[in-house]
């Protein structure tokens, strides 16, 4: 599939931002690898769950005899700077996608796509390592369409929402958007769960690119040239 320059540029800005967000997110996470449900939670409370990893704070009981160095200062700054970059790229991508009908023409499932039979066949075909049909060379199958729509219109907005819900100042302006999530600590827990889902998508996404020919696909996403004879305009 041949992508427009806008899609290609915003894709790489997003990739860069998400990498920085994941790195800094993990750094922030290790200062308190415990998760709670509701409005409040601290080491005096029973966590909903905690991660079996060491922490960068001596006050957190982890079962490890050592404490990792504190990296929260730059991690938090990098996290928010990358989040701004992501919002900017996301905004441009959304505006361009609506203007060029990218979402409607290429991502919205066609009537025949949105059936379990088509989804199942896409998965089994993928598992059998069958080569894509001619139609799939320049278009997305039903499973891909649903996944991309979910990531773009559900996962990313939810990650931004749950992230903002942890801001005291944001909560001052829109308290309802925090209580709708179940409170500050629920928002933090959801932020983590959504990140795990996003990582799962990323793993499959990169694995699929690898299977489709990593160098060729990455080059196509950078230059816009697919090098395929079957390409349609």
């Amino acid at each position: 599939m041949r992508h427009t320059a806008t899609v290609r540029i915003t894709h790489w800005i997003t990739a860069f931002s998400v990498a920085a967000l994941l790195l800094s997110g993990v750094e922030i996470l290790i200062s308190h690898p415990r998760f709670y449900w509701g409005e409040t939670g601290n080491v005096m409370d029973t966590p909903l769950f905690s991660l079996p990893i060491p922490s960068s704070r001596s006050t957190v009981p982890t079962g490890f005899s050592y404490v990792l160095p504190d990296q929260n200062g730059w991690s938090r700054s990098l996290h928010f700077q990358s989040a701004w970059l992501l919002l900017l790229a996301g905004g441009v991508y959304l505006a361009a996608g609506l203007r060029t009908r990218h979402f409607r023409d290429r991502l919205w499932p066609t009537r025949s796509d949105a059936t379990w039979r088509v989804m199942r066949s896409a998965i089994s075909k993928s598992l059998r390592r069958a080569s894509p049909s001619e139609r799939e060379e320049w278009s997305y199958n039903g499973l891909q369409r649903m996944t991309y729509l979910g990531v773009i219109f559900v996962l990313f907005p939810m990650v931004v929402w749950t992230g903002l819900a942890m801001s005291d100042a944001f909560a001052a302006v829109s308290p309802g958007l925090v209580s709708a999530l179940g409170g500050r600590q629920s928002a933090r827990t959801l932020h983590f769960v959504l990140t795990v889902l996003l990582c799962a998508f990323l793993l499959v996404h990169v694995a699929m690119v690898y299977r489709a020919g990593f160098v060729r696909r990455v080059r196509a996403m950078i230059t816009g040239q697919t090098g395929s004879h079957k390409e349609k305009p």
Partner: protein
């Protein structure tokens, strides 16, 4: 080069020039309306500035969430802190000599004792204290509005920031004047119906409920109104920014 591409080049050049002059106008306006944080110059300055400016514009004077009494945390937690030598001396005297010095750009510098502060109109709030590490608790805080203290001292019009200091010479922070004058910013002497415990910053702590816990400085002894933060300490606007933390902690 064809005429078409020359035209494109010209259009793009003009657009870039317009964009750049637009940016410089935006920067001047942002400076004028106090949208540039003290740490705008470091490598995360772009993000810090966007976050701070967005908050100044969108959050304005909005109040931090207050909670019903039944949501007060039964087991609050505070990170251990070292209040320093001066604190030990004052503690030995039962905090009788504790003073809050109010100085800098004020008409009448003050030196207030703990009973003086309790004589000011009493304010209380049930708000959440959230640490940048991720944990939080809700407590009822009692004290005097910092705005009342600043009004008593007569804040001068040129003051743009408030620097505040602890008994520990290593601990100090600054906030902008809007945050300092916000009705929920409290000079806190009580917590959950008792005197503020030493573990939570007692006998005196500045509560800044619209920002993270590290802005709520424990063992408060001095507030100084200033027109800028460059000449304070290393010029970062606080101990936490000096250690690499954001100056603005509303997020």
């Amino acid at each position: 080069m064809s005429g078409m591409s020359r035209r494109t080049l010209l259009t793009r050049g003009l657009a870039a020039a317009a964009g750049l002059s637009g940016l410089s106008v935006a920067a001047r306006l942002a400076e004028r309306y106090g949208l540039i944080p003290p740490d705008a110059g470091n490598i995360y300055g772009m993000g810090e500035t966007l976050t701070y400016a967005a908050n100044r514009l969108i959050v304005g004077d909005s109040a931090a969430r207050e909670f019903p009494r039944h949501m007060i945390s039964t087991a609050p937690f505070a990170n251990p802190s070292m209040p320093g030598e001066m604190f030990k001396r004052l503690e030995a005297g039962g905090f009788a000599d504790w003073r809050l010095e109010v100085g800098g750009m004020v008409a009448r510098p003050l030196s207030l004792s703990l009973p003086d502060l309790r004589r000011l109109p009493e304010r209380s709030q049930i708000t959440q204290l959230a640490c940048e590490e991720g944990w939080s608790y809700i407590a009822e805080w009692r004290g005097a509005a910092l705005a009342d203290v600043l009004n008593a001292a007569g804040l001068l019009p040129g003051a743009r920031y408030l620097a505040y200091y602890s008994t520990d010479p290593e601990s100090w922070e600054t906030i902008d004047i809007a945050e300092a004058r916000h009705p929920q910013t409290l000079v806190t002497w009580g917590m959950n119906g008792n005197d503020l415990p030493v573990g939570f910053g007692g006998p005196l702590r500045l509560r800044v409920p619209r920002q993270l816990g590290y802005k709520s400085l424990k063992f408060l002894t001095r507030v100084v109104a200033v027109d800028g933060v460059r000449h304070l300490g290393q010029g970062t606007g606080g101990a936490n920014p000096q250690w690499g933390y954001s100056w603005y902690a509303g997020i």
